[in-house]
Amino acid sequence: MAKITLTVNGEKRSAEVEDRTLLANFLRDTLNLTGTHVGCDTSQCGACTVHVDGRAVKSCTMLAAQADGADVLTIEGLAKNGKLHPAQAAFTECHALQCGFCTPGMIMTTAALLKDHPQPTDDEIVHGLEGNLCRCTGYLNIIKAVKRAAELQGK
Protein backbone atom coordinates (compact mmCIF):
# COMPACT_ATOMS: atom_id res chain seq x y z
CA MET A 1 0.00 0.00 0.00
CA ALA A 2 1.21 3.51 -0.76
CA LYS A 3 0.55 6.42 1.54
CA ILE A 4 0.02 9.54 -0.50
CA THR A 5 -0.68 13.17 0.23
CA LEU A 6 -1.57 15.54 -2.53
CA THR A 7 -3.50 18.71 -3.15
CA VAL A 8 -6.67 18.23 -5.15
CA ASN A 9 -8.62 21.29 -6.24
CA GLY A 10 -6.86 23.30 -3.56
CA GLU A 11 -7.52 20.86 -0.73
CA LYS A 12 -4.92 18.63 0.92
CA ARG A 13 -5.93 15.00 0.65
CA SER A 14 -4.20 12.01 2.21
CA ALA A 15 -4.98 8.39 1.60
CA GLU A 16 -3.58 4.94 1.61
CA VAL A 17 -4.00 3.26 -1.75
CA GLU A 18 -2.92 0.08 -3.43
CA ASP A 19 0.34 0.80 -5.28
CA ARG A 20 -1.26 -0.05 -8.62
CA THR A 21 -4.08 2.47 -8.19
CA LEU A 22 -4.32 4.82 -11.14
CA LEU A 23 -4.75 8.50 -10.46
CA ALA A 24 -8.06 8.42 -12.35
CA ASN A 25 -9.42 5.69 -10.09
CA PHE A 26 -8.15 7.45 -7.00
CA LEU A 27 -9.98 10.62 -8.00
CA ARG A 28 -13.16 8.81 -8.97
CA ASP A 29 -13.40 6.06 -6.40
CA THR A 30 -11.58 7.38 -3.35
CA LEU A 31 -12.34 11.09 -3.62
CA ASN A 32 -15.65 10.60 -5.44
CA LEU A 33 -14.64 13.18 -8.06
CA THR A 34 -16.52 11.45 -10.86
CA GLY A 35 -16.20 14.36 -13.29
CA THR A 36 -12.95 12.80 -14.45
CA HIS A 37 -14.05 10.14 -16.92
CA VAL A 38 -12.30 7.06 -18.23
CA GLY A 39 -13.02 6.40 -21.89
CA CYS A 40 -10.25 4.01 -22.88
CA ASP A 41 -7.44 1.90 -21.53
CA THR A 42 -4.69 2.71 -24.00
CA SER A 43 -4.12 6.43 -23.35
CA GLN A 44 -5.81 7.67 -26.50
CA CYS A 45 -9.11 9.29 -25.57
CA GLY A 46 -8.10 11.93 -23.04
CA ALA A 47 -11.45 11.91 -21.20
CA CYS A 48 -9.47 11.47 -17.98
CA THR A 49 -7.34 14.59 -18.49
CA VAL A 50 -6.53 16.53 -15.31
CA HIS A 51 -3.80 19.00 -14.48
CA VAL A 52 -0.86 17.81 -12.42
CA ASP A 53 1.34 20.66 -11.29
CA GLY A 54 -0.26 22.81 -13.94
CA ARG A 55 0.22 20.48 -16.91
CA ALA A 56 -2.44 18.39 -18.61
CA VAL A 57 -1.96 14.67 -18.08
CA LYS A 58 -4.02 11.56 -18.66
CA SER A 59 -4.90 10.43 -15.17
CA CYS A 60 -5.52 6.89 -16.44
CA THR A 61 -1.83 6.62 -17.31
CA MET A 62 -0.37 7.83 -14.06
CA LEU A 63 -0.27 6.08 -10.73
CA ALA A 64 -1.81 7.84 -7.78
CA ALA A 65 1.50 7.19 -6.07
CA GLN A 66 3.31 9.16 -8.77
CA ALA A 67 1.13 12.13 -7.87
CA ASP A 68 2.25 12.06 -4.24
CA GLY A 69 3.06 15.64 -3.29
CA ALA A 70 1.59 17.05 -6.49
CA ASP A 71 -1.00 19.73 -7.07
CA VAL A 72 -3.93 18.21 -8.97
CA LEU A 73 -6.73 20.13 -10.60
CA THR A 74 -9.84 18.35 -11.89
CA ILE A 75 -12.89 19.58 -13.75
CA GLU A 76 -14.69 20.02 -10.43
CA GLY A 77 -12.10 22.57 -9.33
CA LEU A 78 -11.90 24.58 -12.52
CA ALA A 79 -14.64 27.10 -11.84
CA LYS A 80 -13.49 29.59 -9.24
CA ASN A 81 -15.86 31.24 -6.76
CA GLY A 82 -18.84 30.13 -8.77
CA LYS A 83 -17.46 31.66 -11.95
CA LEU A 84 -16.98 29.33 -14.87
CA HIS A 85 -13.53 29.05 -16.41
CA PRO A 86 -13.46 30.64 -19.89
CA ALA A 87 -13.09 27.18 -21.41
CA GLN A 88 -16.26 26.00 -19.64
CA ALA A 89 -18.19 29.09 -20.68
CA ALA A 90 -16.99 28.80 -24.26
CA PHE A 91 -17.91 25.11 -24.55
CA THR A 92 -21.54 25.76 -23.77
CA GLU A 93 -21.66 28.99 -25.75
CA CYS A 94 -20.30 27.25 -28.88
CA HIS A 95 -22.28 24.01 -28.47
CA ALA A 96 -19.00 22.16 -28.17
CA LEU A 97 -20.53 19.27 -26.23
CA GLN A 98 -23.28 16.82 -26.94
CA CYS A 99 -23.22 13.74 -24.73
CA GLY A 100 -20.74 15.47 -22.43
CA PHE A 101 -18.63 12.43 -21.65
CA CYS A 102 -15.41 13.65 -23.29
CA THR A 103 -16.14 17.20 -22.17
CA PRO A 104 -14.31 17.37 -18.83
CA GLY A 105 -11.15 16.09 -20.51
CA MET A 106 -11.61 18.42 -23.47
CA ILE A 107 -12.07 21.38 -21.17
CA MET A 108 -9.06 20.51 -19.03
CA THR A 109 -6.95 20.12 -22.17
CA THR A 110 -8.24 23.44 -23.46
CA ALA A 111 -7.47 25.20 -20.20
CA ALA A 112 -3.91 23.87 -20.36
CA LEU A 113 -3.56 24.71 -24.04
CA LEU A 114 -4.55 28.31 -23.37
CA LYS A 115 -1.77 28.61 -20.81
CA ASP A 116 0.81 27.66 -23.46
CA HIS A 117 -0.95 29.48 -26.30
CA PRO A 118 -3.08 32.36 -25.04
CA GLN A 119 -4.07 33.16 -28.61
CA PRO A 120 -3.88 29.83 -30.39
CA THR A 121 -3.96 29.46 -34.16
CA ASP A 122 -6.17 26.81 -35.75
CA ASP A 123 -3.16 24.56 -36.21
CA GLU A 124 -2.12 24.96 -32.60
CA ILE A 125 -5.64 24.06 -31.51
CA VAL A 126 -5.80 20.97 -33.70
CA HIS A 127 -2.34 19.90 -32.54
CA GLY A 128 -3.30 20.64 -28.95
CA LEU A 129 -6.42 18.45 -29.12
CA GLU A 130 -4.62 15.43 -30.57
CA GLY A 131 -4.93 13.57 -27.29
CA ASN A 132 -8.68 13.95 -26.91
CA LEU A 133 -11.36 12.00 -28.72
CA CYS A 134 -14.98 13.05 -29.16
CA ARG A 135 -17.53 10.89 -30.98
CA CYS A 136 -20.42 13.36 -31.02
CA THR A 137 -19.38 16.80 -32.20
CA GLY A 138 -17.08 16.23 -35.15
CA TYR A 139 -14.76 18.69 -33.32
CA LEU A 140 -15.71 21.79 -35.33
CA ASN A 141 -17.53 23.41 -32.44
CA ILE A 142 -14.80 22.35 -30.05
CA ILE A 143 -12.21 24.20 -32.14
CA LYS A 144 -14.56 27.16 -32.19
CA ALA A 145 -14.91 26.96 -28.42
CA VAL A 146 -11.16 26.94 -27.85
CA LYS A 147 -10.90 30.16 -29.87
CA ARG A 148 -13.80 31.65 -27.99
CA ALA A 149 -12.24 30.65 -24.69
CA ALA A 150 -9.07 32.49 -25.70
CA GLU A 151 -11.17 35.58 -26.35
CA LEU A 152 -12.99 35.27 -23.05
CA GLN A 153 -9.72 34.75 -21.23
CA GLY A 154 -8.27 37.90 -22.80
CA LYS A 155 -11.18 39.99 -21.58
Binding site: A2, D19, D41, Q44, L63
Partner: protein, 268 residues
Protein backbone atom coordinates in the same frame (compact mmCIF):
# COMPACT_ATOMS: atom_id res chain seq x y z
CA UNK B 1 -2.59 -4.32 -13.81
CA UNK B 2 -1.15 -7.01 -11.64
CA UNK B 3 -0.12 -5.95 -8.17
CA UNK B 4 3.37 -4.49 -7.76
CA UNK B 5 5.27 -2.38 -5.32
CA UNK B 6 5.90 1.24 -6.23
CA UNK B 7 9.09 2.87 -4.91
CA UNK B 8 10.41 6.29 -5.60
CA UNK B 9 14.22 6.38 -5.66
CA UNK B 10 15.94 9.37 -4.12
CA UNK B 11 19.24 8.92 -5.91
CA UNK B 12 20.45 7.19 -9.01
CA UNK B 13 22.52 4.87 -6.88
CA UNK B 14 19.48 3.91 -4.86
CA UNK B 15 17.53 3.12 -8.02
CA UNK B 16 20.39 1.06 -9.39
CA UNK B 17 20.71 -0.83 -6.11
CA UNK B 18 17.02 -1.59 -5.92
CA UNK B 19 16.97 -2.81 -9.50
CA UNK B 20 20.05 -4.92 -8.91
CA UNK B 21 18.45 -6.66 -5.96
CA UNK B 22 15.28 -7.63 -7.80
CA UNK B 23 15.36 -9.02 -11.30
CA UNK B 24 11.63 -8.55 -11.63
CA UNK B 25 11.77 -4.85 -10.82
CA UNK B 26 11.40 -2.35 -13.64
CA UNK B 27 12.42 1.31 -13.78
CA UNK B 28 9.53 3.75 -14.29
CA UNK B 29 10.18 7.09 -15.95
CA UNK B 30 7.26 8.85 -17.69
CA UNK B 31 5.40 5.56 -17.84
CA UNK B 32 3.75 6.38 -21.16
CA UNK B 33 4.60 2.97 -22.59
CA UNK B 34 5.07 0.97 -19.42
CA UNK B 35 1.79 1.84 -17.71
CA UNK B 36 -0.41 0.95 -20.71
CA UNK B 37 1.55 -2.29 -20.99
CA UNK B 38 0.83 -3.05 -17.36
CA UNK B 39 -2.80 -2.06 -17.73
CA UNK B 40 -3.12 -4.61 -20.51
CA UNK B 41 -1.57 -7.18 -18.12
CA UNK B 42 1.20 -7.82 -20.63
CA UNK B 43 3.92 -7.54 -17.99
CA UNK B 44 4.08 -8.41 -14.33
CA UNK B 45 6.94 -6.59 -12.60
CA UNK B 46 7.40 -7.03 -8.89
CA UNK B 47 8.39 -3.40 -8.35
CA UNK B 48 8.28 -0.17 -10.24
CA UNK B 49 11.27 1.99 -9.36
CA UNK B 50 10.33 5.59 -10.11
CA UNK B 51 13.36 7.42 -11.50
CA UNK B 52 11.54 10.39 -13.02
CA UNK B 53 12.44 12.76 -10.24
CA UNK B 54 16.17 11.99 -10.02
CA UNK B 55 18.41 15.05 -10.18
CA UNK B 56 21.07 13.04 -12.02
CA UNK B 57 18.62 12.47 -14.87
CA UNK B 58 17.53 16.09 -15.24
CA UNK B 59 18.72 19.08 -17.19
CA UNK B 60 19.43 20.40 -20.65
CA UNK B 61 22.92 21.71 -21.37
CA UNK B 62 24.63 23.04 -24.49
CA UNK B 63 28.42 22.93 -24.22
CA UNK B 64 31.19 22.68 -26.77
CA UNK B 65 28.91 21.87 -29.62
CA UNK B 66 27.15 19.09 -27.76
CA UNK B 67 23.61 19.27 -26.49
CA UNK B 68 23.17 17.02 -23.46
CA UNK B 69 19.71 16.16 -22.25
CA UNK B 70 18.90 14.32 -19.04
CA UNK B 71 17.07 11.04 -19.49
CA UNK B 72 14.11 12.07 -17.34
CA UNK B 73 13.58 15.27 -19.29
CA UNK B 74 9.99 15.27 -20.45
CA UNK B 75 9.12 15.84 -24.11
CA UNK B 76 7.37 19.14 -23.46
CA UNK B 77 10.49 20.40 -21.66
CA UNK B 78 12.57 19.61 -24.73
CA UNK B 79 9.98 21.02 -27.13
CA UNK B 80 9.74 24.31 -25.25
CA UNK B 81 13.40 24.65 -24.21
CA UNK B 82 14.83 27.87 -25.67
CA UNK B 83 18.23 26.18 -25.85
CA UNK B 84 17.00 23.19 -27.83
CA UNK B 85 14.90 25.37 -30.08
CA UNK B 86 17.92 27.50 -30.85
CA UNK B 87 20.69 24.95 -31.33
CA UNK B 88 18.78 21.83 -32.41
CA UNK B 89 15.33 22.90 -33.63
CA UNK B 90 14.82 19.60 -35.47
CA UNK B 91 14.83 17.79 -32.14
CA UNK B 92 12.37 20.25 -30.61
CA UNK B 93 10.14 19.74 -33.57
CA UNK B 94 10.50 15.94 -33.44
CA UNK B 95 9.46 15.69 -29.82
CA UNK B 96 6.48 17.94 -30.43
CA UNK B 97 5.15 15.29 -32.83
CA UNK B 98 5.28 12.55 -30.22
CA UNK B 99 1.77 11.31 -29.39
CA UNK B 100 -0.21 14.20 -27.89
CA UNK B 101 0.22 17.04 -25.40
CA UNK B 102 -0.75 14.98 -22.36
CA UNK B 103 1.74 12.27 -23.27
CA UNK B 104 4.45 14.86 -23.97
CA UNK B 105 3.85 16.28 -20.53
CA UNK B 106 4.79 12.94 -18.96
CA UNK B 107 6.91 11.00 -21.43
CA UNK B 108 10.67 11.24 -21.23
CA UNK B 109 13.48 11.08 -23.74
CA UNK B 110 15.36 8.44 -21.77
CA UNK B 111 12.33 6.24 -21.44
CA UNK B 112 11.72 6.26 -25.17
CA UNK B 113 15.38 5.65 -26.02
CA UNK B 114 15.65 2.76 -23.57
CA UNK B 115 12.40 1.21 -24.79
CA UNK B 116 13.41 1.42 -28.47
CA UNK B 117 9.89 0.97 -29.79
CA UNK B 118 10.28 0.39 -33.54
CA UNK B 119 7.73 3.13 -34.25
CA UNK B 120 8.95 5.70 -31.69
CA UNK B 121 10.33 9.02 -32.90
CA UNK B 122 13.25 9.67 -30.57
CA UNK B 123 15.46 6.77 -31.69
CA UNK B 124 15.57 8.32 -35.18
CA UNK B 125 17.05 11.53 -33.78
CA UNK B 126 19.51 9.72 -31.54
CA UNK B 127 20.75 7.53 -34.39
CA UNK B 128 20.87 10.19 -37.12
CA UNK B 129 22.61 12.70 -34.89
CA UNK B 130 25.17 10.08 -33.86
CA UNK B 131 24.36 10.81 -30.24
CA UNK B 132 26.01 9.14 -27.29
CA UNK B 133 23.81 7.38 -24.78
CA UNK B 134 25.33 7.90 -21.33
CA UNK B 135 24.35 5.32 -18.75
CA UNK B 136 25.23 4.81 -15.11
CA UNK B 137 27.97 2.48 -16.33
CA UNK B 138 29.34 3.74 -19.63
CA UNK B 139 28.90 5.72 -22.82
CA UNK B 140 27.37 3.96 -25.80
CA UNK B 141 27.42 5.25 -29.37
CA UNK B 142 24.00 5.35 -31.02
CA UNK B 143 25.17 2.95 -33.73
CA UNK B 144 25.84 0.37 -31.05
CA UNK B 145 22.94 1.21 -28.80
CA UNK B 146 19.90 0.21 -30.89
CA UNK B 147 19.88 -3.52 -31.51
CA UNK B 148 16.51 -4.27 -33.01
CA UNK B 149 12.90 -3.99 -31.95
CA UNK B 150 12.62 -3.19 -28.24
CA UNK B 151 16.25 -4.27 -27.87
CA UNK B 152 19.19 -2.10 -26.86
CA UNK B 153 22.73 -2.48 -25.58
CA UNK B 154 21.49 -1.78 -22.05
CA UNK B 155 22.38 -4.51 -19.58
CA UNK B 156 20.21 -5.49 -16.65
CA UNK B 157 20.40 -2.76 -14.03
CA UNK B 158 21.83 -0.26 -16.49
CA UNK B 159 19.93 3.01 -16.74
CA UNK B 160 20.08 5.74 -19.35
CA UNK B 161 21.24 8.89 -17.57
CA UNK B 162 21.79 11.37 -20.37
CA UNK B 163 21.84 11.57 -24.12
CA UNK B 164 24.52 13.76 -25.73
CA UNK B 165 23.76 15.09 -29.19
CA UNK B 166 26.64 16.54 -31.22
CA UNK B 167 25.15 19.55 -32.96
CA UNK B 168 24.71 19.14 -36.71
CA UNK B 169 24.98 21.88 -39.34
CA UNK B 170 21.38 21.23 -40.19
CA UNK B 171 18.76 18.62 -39.48
CA UNK B 172 15.12 17.83 -40.13
CA UNK B 173 12.56 15.17 -39.24
CA UNK B 174 9.49 14.22 -41.23
CA UNK B 175 6.99 11.70 -40.09
CA UNK B 176 3.90 9.97 -41.40
CA UNK B 177 1.90 9.27 -38.26
CA UNK B 178 -0.45 6.37 -37.84
CA UNK B 179 -3.95 7.87 -37.87
CA UNK B 180 -4.93 6.13 -34.65
CA UNK B 181 -1.86 5.79 -32.45
CA UNK B 182 0.19 8.71 -33.74
CA UNK B 183 3.25 6.47 -33.86
CA UNK B 184 5.44 6.73 -36.96
CA UNK B 185 4.38 4.53 -39.86
CA UNK B 186 7.53 6.04 -41.35
CA UNK B 187 9.72 8.72 -39.83
CA UNK B 188 12.97 9.98 -41.29
CA UNK B 189 15.55 12.09 -39.50
CA UNK B 190 18.31 13.63 -41.62
CA UNK B 191 21.38 15.19 -40.02
CA UNK B 192 23.92 17.11 -42.01
CA UNK B 193 27.25 17.24 -40.18
CA UNK B 194 30.87 18.05 -40.87
CA UNK B 195 31.48 14.31 -41.21
CA UNK B 196 28.70 13.85 -43.74
CA UNK B 197 25.01 13.05 -43.83
CA UNK B 198 23.29 10.54 -41.58
CA UNK B 199 19.77 9.32 -42.24
CA UNK B 200 17.82 7.34 -39.68
CA UNK B 201 14.48 5.71 -40.38
CA UNK B 202 11.94 4.78 -37.72
CA UNK B 203 8.52 3.17 -37.92
CA UNK B 204 9.21 1.24 -41.09
CA UNK B 205 12.07 -1.07 -40.22
CA UNK B 206 11.53 -4.78 -39.79
CA UNK B 207 13.98 -4.64 -36.89
CA UNK B 208 13.52 -1.16 -35.50
CA UNK B 209 15.28 2.09 -36.28
CA UNK B 210 17.96 1.83 -38.99
CA UNK B 211 20.32 3.96 -41.05
CA UNK B 212 19.65 4.29 -44.74
CA UNK B 213 23.13 4.40 -46.20
CA UNK B 214 22.14 4.86 -49.87
CA UNK B 215 20.22 7.96 -48.90
CA UNK B 216 23.16 9.23 -46.85
CA UNK B 217 25.45 8.96 -49.87
CA UNK B 218 22.94 10.49 -52.25
CA UNK B 219 22.10 13.38 -49.94
CA UNK B 220 25.77 14.10 -49.24
CA UNK B 221 26.05 14.98 -52.93
CA UNK B 222 22.68 16.61 -53.31
CA UNK B 223 20.45 17.46 -50.34
CA UNK B 224 17.16 17.35 -52.20
CA UNK B 225 13.97 15.38 -52.66
CA UNK B 226 15.03 14.66 -56.21
CA UNK B 227 18.11 12.81 -54.97
CA UNK B 228 15.89 10.52 -52.88
CA UNK B 229 13.50 9.98 -55.75
CA UNK B 230 16.11 8.00 -57.65
CA UNK B 231 16.69 5.54 -54.81
CA UNK B 232 15.05 2.22 -54.17
CA UNK B 233 14.65 1.05 -50.61
CA UNK B 234 15.06 -2.68 -50.21
CA UNK B 235 11.59 -3.79 -49.16
CA UNK B 236 12.77 -6.89 -47.28
CA UNK B 237 14.10 -4.73 -44.44
CA UNK B 238 10.71 -3.10 -44.13
CA UNK B 239 7.98 -3.99 -41.72
CA UNK B 240 4.56 -5.11 -42.90
CA UNK B 241 1.30 -5.26 -40.93
CA UNK B 242 -2.35 -4.27 -41.22
CA UNK B 243 -1.32 -0.62 -41.09
CA UNK B 244 0.86 -0.76 -44.18
CA UNK B 245 2.45 -3.09 -46.72
CA UNK B 246 6.22 -3.17 -47.30
CA UNK B 247 5.87 -1.31 -50.58
CA UNK B 248 3.77 1.40 -49.02
CA UNK B 249 6.10 1.87 -46.08
CA UNK B 250 9.09 1.98 -48.43
CA UNK B 251 7.29 4.66 -50.42
CA UNK B 252 6.51 6.64 -47.28
CA UNK B 253 10.14 6.46 -46.19
CA UNK B 254 11.14 7.94 -49.52
CA UNK B 255 8.51 10.68 -49.36
CA UNK B 256 9.37 11.58 -45.76
CA UNK B 257 13.11 11.54 -46.58
CA UNK B 258 12.50 13.77 -49.58
CA UNK B 259 10.47 16.18 -47.51
CA UNK B 260 13.07 16.26 -44.75
CA UNK B 261 15.82 16.89 -47.31
CA UNK B 262 13.78 19.68 -48.86
CA UNK B 263 13.23 21.17 -45.42
CA UNK B 264 17.00 21.35 -44.94
CA UNK B 265 18.00 22.65 -48.35
CA UNK B 266 14.84 24.17 -49.71
CA UNK B 267 15.36 21.99 -52.80
CA UNK B 268 12.58 19.80 -54.08
Amino acid sequence: MYAFQYRKAKTLQEAVDWLAKDEEARPLSGGMTLLPTLKARLAQPSQLIDIAGLAELAGIENKNGVLTIGAATRYYQIATSPVVREVLPALASLVSTVADPQVRNRGTLGGSVANNDPAADSPAAVLALNATVITNKREIAADDFFQGMFTTALEPGELVVKVAFPLPRAAAYCKFPHPASGYAVAGVFIAQTAAGVRVAVTGAGASGVFRWSEAEQALAKDMSAAAIDKLTLAADDINEDIHGSREYRAQLVKVMAGRAAAAISGKK
